[in-house]
Subunit: 410 residues, 2 copies
């Protein structure tokens, strides 16, 4: 008999019919003898409806009050699911974040979980009840309702699993697992049975939207086995877990991530003096713009070129900041490009295999894809290329690293 | 500087525009220097929408879970009003019933308030904030969300006013006060400046729907001055207060109440033996039917006639029960009538004035209105008449007791 935390997102509880389907699913696990804690999001669209209501009052609604409003979304779904379970003869009880007592800090709309009181839930489990908990929300030490920010329900699920020392935290979603890359781009993409937390973190931060980064970090930190599954299809999904020795036989590369959300900015002919990086990036972060990749070329004639990427939404703002900086630093000029894409190969296997990066570059060269920027970490190599080559690059790499599924009939 | 509790109902907060209007009104009081606690209902229609959602899952939803869902209605309006106040530069904070800690018993969907923790609210008032509280809801000793049942927001307002020893509890609604009778029936009806708790209770229980009976009882018990006002029109409204000596000069009769919700049942030729009333009414209350007026005529030939009224919705069920009883008691026969109306005169003044009832009967006789049943209490005389005479009777009594407003030009 296992203790499982199951999290269902907004689409999975988006209608009464879907909630009934979730109840059927939960009952099946229950009948198999598992202890269950269910974490739910609001019905899809509901959080936006509530935010819209608030925005009709104020463009910048007070976050304390906004949290009071949007936390009602999950409060409705948890009670509906509890009702649906009880109707099926499954004893169940719902709790809001405040009722469980999911204690958070007071950073409304982006609160962090500090502590979870597991007493109530443990008592209910002991008495045979399925416990249905509102995701995405908590309460601060003063009793104010807080929310964790978008996608926070994944984090609630993982945090509960950690607090309860659950055997597994299952995240039900609209895909049946984590893939070697986006199947819409590469039809040969394969579902991974297993992936490590580190790989999943890189995949998530590189644009694979299956799981929230915070939830993966949390799961890694507390070593909560995390499984991604499809809400309404059967299947084993993908288990995200620690890098045990048995995983040594896995392929060098687990997956290929990509995104088109970034833009590139270059400041040319900057005097190559100490502190110049700070002089360039200080004003950027001062304008609340997050920088992703950073490349500084070797100095040449005592000047250097400095390139970085930002989210495409921040491109115009960053360009303006950078042009001011260029004047101050007497740089030669500023150029920018929004038509770029980032492609990354991710895998813990590359730690013990040399030549992974060069194999990547070779595959791209073969298809005449020019690499504009390169950045590496221990388990990832990312390149920036011209956006129009994105699909071509992803397919080439997927094949080069032997991730393609066997073709039917082969 | 007064401390005022103001309660706004669902229609008054039925749209963003209305909530903004309420915020304007609250700001006006605030600018005049009053300390304010605002109690809100859910936006009109919202509670029904939420109940409908629950009913899609289950015809008989578990009341604990139903309370979790429907309490979200007020949770949304309190935060919206707090936002609207803050936008106007008025410091404000919202609290759910659980956050205030409005402690109730555990009778979900019809909970009773046991205790209110006034600490948080007092602190906020001290720091200059307007406190916006969700009506209709509370929390039991185990932390479960409870609701007080329909109209419970009035009760929340009065209970808060009692706990805070507020100077006044103002109930904002869609009428500008309590009238001598329904202005739709008697155009000469007048708004009362004052009415006693007892009179208001009789008026409310007799069909005047301005205030919830529970709220009036509560206000009377804790002597909370209660004022009924129009949400969006200026005016002094009607003050409901204790019967002080100064009110001795008020008219004998304060108002005329009526309703058409009842039906009459008579069992004829019942053997006149001890315990017969219980034998008749026991099975009725056993069938969960509430009885209003009861009249037993003087025995005649050792048999008696026994008549009572029930809500019209319960008429068929009551008739069936009574017919079984008639067989058991060997009564002569059972007759019923749904085309009746009840008209009542209400006033504390009748305590010290003889002949009030006969003056009522005289007025009705003058218009040839036959009286079918009579029942009296210390401050009320009720008669049952044929339904078609209702308007005529109310107008006749309104004039006979000198309640008519002076005609224009007089």
């Amino acid at each position: 008999m296992a203790l499982i935390v199951q999290k269902f997102g907004g689409t999975s509880v988006g209608s009464i019919e879907r909630i009934e389907q979730v109840a059927d699913k939960v009952k099946k696990f229950r009948d198999a003898g598992d202890d269950l804690v269910i974490v739910l999001s609001a019905m899809s669209g509901e959080t936006n409806r509530l935010i819209d209501l608030a925005k009709q009052i104020s463009d910048q609604p007070v976050t304390r009050e906004l949290d009071v409003i949007i936390s009602t979304g999950e409060q409705v779904t948890i009670a509906l699911l509890a009702m649906a379970l009880i109707k099926r003869g499954v004893p169940a009880v719902s709790y809001t974040g405040a009722q469980v007592r999911i204690l958070t800090d007071s950073a409304h709309s982006k609160a962090r979980i500090l502590q979870i009181d597991d007493q109530k839930i443990r008592n209910d489990l002991k008495e045979g009840r399925v416990v249905v908990v509102a995701g995405f929300q908590g309460v601060d030490e003063h009793g104010n309702i807080t929310t964790l920010g978008r996608g926070g329900s994944d984090t609630t699920g993982v945090a509960l699993a950690a607090a309860l020392k659950a055997d597994e935290c299952q995240i039900y979603t609209d895909v049946d697992g984590v893939y070697t890359t986006d199947p819409r781009v590469v039809s040969q993409a394969q579902r991974l049975d297993k992936i490590t937390f580190e790989e999943m973190l890189e995949m998530a931060s590189l644009g694979s939207k299956v799981l929230q980064i915070r939830a993966v970090e949390f799961a890694g930190k507390y070593n909560v086995p995390l499984r991604v599954l499809h809400s309404f299809k059967e299947g084993p999904g993908t288990l995200i877990t620690i890098d045990e020795e048995e995983t040594m036989e896995q392929p060098i590369i687990s997956g290929i991530a990509f995104n088109r959300d970034e833009a590139k900015l270059t400041i040319r002919g900057v005097p190559d003096t100490p502190g110049v990086a700070f002089k360039i990036l200080g004003p950027i972060s001062g304008a609340n713009i997050e920088v992703d990749m950073i490349v500084q070329n070797v100095a040449h004639d005592n000047t250097t070129d400095f390139t970085f990427t930002v989210h495409r939404n921040d491109y115009q703002a960053a360009l303006q900041v950078l042009e001011n900086t260029a004047v101050e630093l007497a740089a030669r000029k500023v150029v920018g490009d929004t038509k770029i894409a980032k492609v990354s190969i991710v895998g813990v296997g590359m730690r013990s295999h040399a030549g992974v990066a060069s194999r990547m570059f070779e595959a791209l060269a073969k298809d005449n894809i020019n690499i504009q920027m390169i950045s590496t970490s221990e388990i990832k190599v990312s390149v920036v290329i011209e956006e129009k080559y994105l699909e071509l690059a992803v397919r080439a790499l997927h094949t080069a690293f032997e991730l393609d599924a066997p073709r039917q009939g082969e």
